[in-house]
């Protein structure tokens, strides 16, 4: 293992690599987790809830506007 590091000593790098899980390294987070396709039922549920949020938000804003007048 040959750690690359600009400002980190070899001792520190060795300590980090022996202490943290590989996925915990900041650099590991640059690698994306593979995409998962949403199934039909999941998509329908998410769209229904999205419409619900938008619809309810309009009601909330209208109610709050009326309450402050």
């Amino acid at each position: 293992m040959t750690p690359k590091h600009e400002y980190v000593s070899d001792a520190d790098a060795g300590f980090v690599l022996s202490t943290l899980e590989p996925d915990q390294l900041a650099e590991a987070k640059r690698i994306a987790i593979p995409r998962r396709r949403l199934r039909g039922g999941e998509l329908v549920l998410l769209w229904v809830l999205r419409i619900y949020v938008v619809f309810m938000l309009v009601i909330v804003l209208w109610q709050a506007w009326a309450a402050t007048r």
Binding site: M1, P3, H5, Y7, L17, A64
Partner: protein, 461 residues
């Protein structure tokens, strides 16, 4: 101590010949080394030390959510209905919060990724941006209300608004000065402990304990099902279960460096935090219960509640109440602005950790500082209808929760990323129940707004 990741999940593997180590990693490794050493030790004292090392995100998220608008909701509830249905109801909402937040602990510990990051990577930017818009709007509006609470609370002591806002910002920024997650977490935990100040205020009112016990035992007296009740039901739910909590606790779990071995302690942390927060919330309802029927609690600000309580709890009690509001606003402004910064860093793929030096994490600290400064600045603009924001913020939080919970549900049931700690059936059943309850509460609010007469019909059922 080197531990492997969960078997069966795709690894964001770093090739061993091309490892980059940063200062952020070194700081986290020091924290983890202490946990490793504590885990090796035996005895009760060693277990207590291990618990002390591992608690943090759960307590912070729960006490952080006992924020300005939440405490005002509880105060309005006590001052409107006194002791009754809402005491056990608030305890129930904290039980819902534990169910939801426990999932974020598992998700963070298993994947070492933040919530925003996982939604973007696993489901794509289309759904990711929807979540971010919900989070961004909710967080910014809530931040405004935190500074309103600080302004009102310090206003009780005659401190002018500009000075109150400067105090809040100074505390928020000074918590970041160490550039260490551990120090930031401990400083914020100490500040959050002052949330419990509402309990002595409740005791100063000499509560009617038989009525408190009766309320918990029977959920009675029940309030009439009308617009006020529905609004307070939604406000109290929004005071305990909100989207920023999901994003914050998962990101803080990752930043703290918790692994799957720590999940049990993460659960304890969450449960302990919820218990403390529930005690403080119930304390506010009990403290303001003597005001029931004496004031109109609709648009009350913190200072006005404190003044109204003064004849009952004396000047010290009223001052404690006002200080509690200040604490609630300051701690929440710290946790909510941090949640925004984590989410931004995760989505923009910029370094995002409280272990970063300012030079290494300029975008992270810029978002954190600017969100807080902008919200604080808005509170100082004269003539803005800020009551409007206080009225809607908890309701918006409840409405945005069901879609956020569906993403959380999908992620914690994703065997590829969760491995052996994917949600068991009982956890899914509880999570599904929470989604149904939150959606039903939102629909009830919609009915109360569009067809208020239908509420009386529903009340007769």
């Amino acid at each position: 101590m080197s531990t492997g990741a969960q078997p069966g999940r795709p690894r964001a593997a770093v090739a061993e010949t091309d490892v980059v180590v940063t200062h952020e990693d070194i700081d986290r490794a020091h924290d983890r080394a202490r946990v490793g050493a504590a885990r090796m030790a035996r005895g009760l004292r060693a277990r207590a030390w291990l618990l002390w090392l591992l608690i943090g995100p759960g307590i912070l998220v729960m006490l952080g959510e006992n924020d300005g608008p939440s405490m005002l909701s509880y105060a309005a509830t006590g001052a409107t209905y006194g002791l009754g249905f809402f005491l056990p109801f608030v305890a129930l909402t904290f039980a819902m919060a534990v169910i939801v937040q426990e999932m974020t602990v598992r998700l963070g510990a298993a994947t070492h990724r933040g919530h925003a990051e996982l939604i973007f990577e696993r489901f794509g930017p289309f759904w990711g941006w929807f979540s971010m818009i919900d989070l961004g709007i909710g967080n910014f509006l809530t931040l405004i209300t935190e500074f309103i609470a600080v302004r009102a609370g310090l206003g009780f002591f005659g401190i002018p608004p500009w000075a109150a806002i400067l105090v809040a910002l100074a505390i928020l920024y000074s918590a970041l000065l160490s550039h260490r997650y551990w120090t930031w977490e401990r400083v914020t935990l100490v500040a959050a402990a002052f949330n419990l100040i509402f309990i002595p205020v409740a005791l100063l009112t000499h509560p009617h304990w038989a009525a408190v016990g009766h309320a918990f035992g029977t959920w009675a007296p029940l309030p009439a099902l009308d617009k006020t009740t529905v609004l307070l039901i939604l406000s109290n739910i929004g005071a305990t279960v909100t989207p920023w909590m999901l994003f914050f606790q998962q990101s803080a779990t990752v930043d703290k460096g918790l692994t799957t071995k720590d999940i049990r302690f993460g659960r304890l942390d969450t449960f302990f935090g919820a218990s403390l927060a529930a005690a403080a919330a119930i304390g506010v309802i009990i403290a303001t219960a003597p005001l029931a029927g004496r004031i109109s609690a609709g648009n009350f600000e913190a200072a006005q509640f404190a003044q109204a309580l003064e004849p009952i709890v004396g000047h010290v009690g009223a001052a404690l109440f006002a200080l509690g509001m200040v604490e609630a606003g300051i701690v929440a402004s710290i946790t909510i602005s941090t949640s925004s910064a984590y989410a931004f860093g995760e989505v923009a793929r910029k370094p995002h950790s409280l272990n970063l030096r300012v030079g290494e994490g300029k975008p992270f600290y810029a978002v954190l500082g600017l969100c807080a400064a902008a919200a604080a600045g808005i509170v100082l603009i004269p003539g803005l209808p800020l009551v409007f924001v206080v009225l809607v913020v908890n309701v918006i939080a409840v409405l945005a929760m069901p879609p956020a919970l569906v993403f959380l549900y999908l992620l914690v049931n994703d065997k590829e990323i969760m491995g052996d700690v994917k949600s068991p059936r009982w956890a899914n059943l509880l999570a599904g129940t929470v989604v149904v309850l939150l959606t039903a509460a939102g629909v009830l609010y919609g009915i109360s707004a569009v067809a208020p007469n239908a509420l009386s019909w529903l009340g007769k059922l």
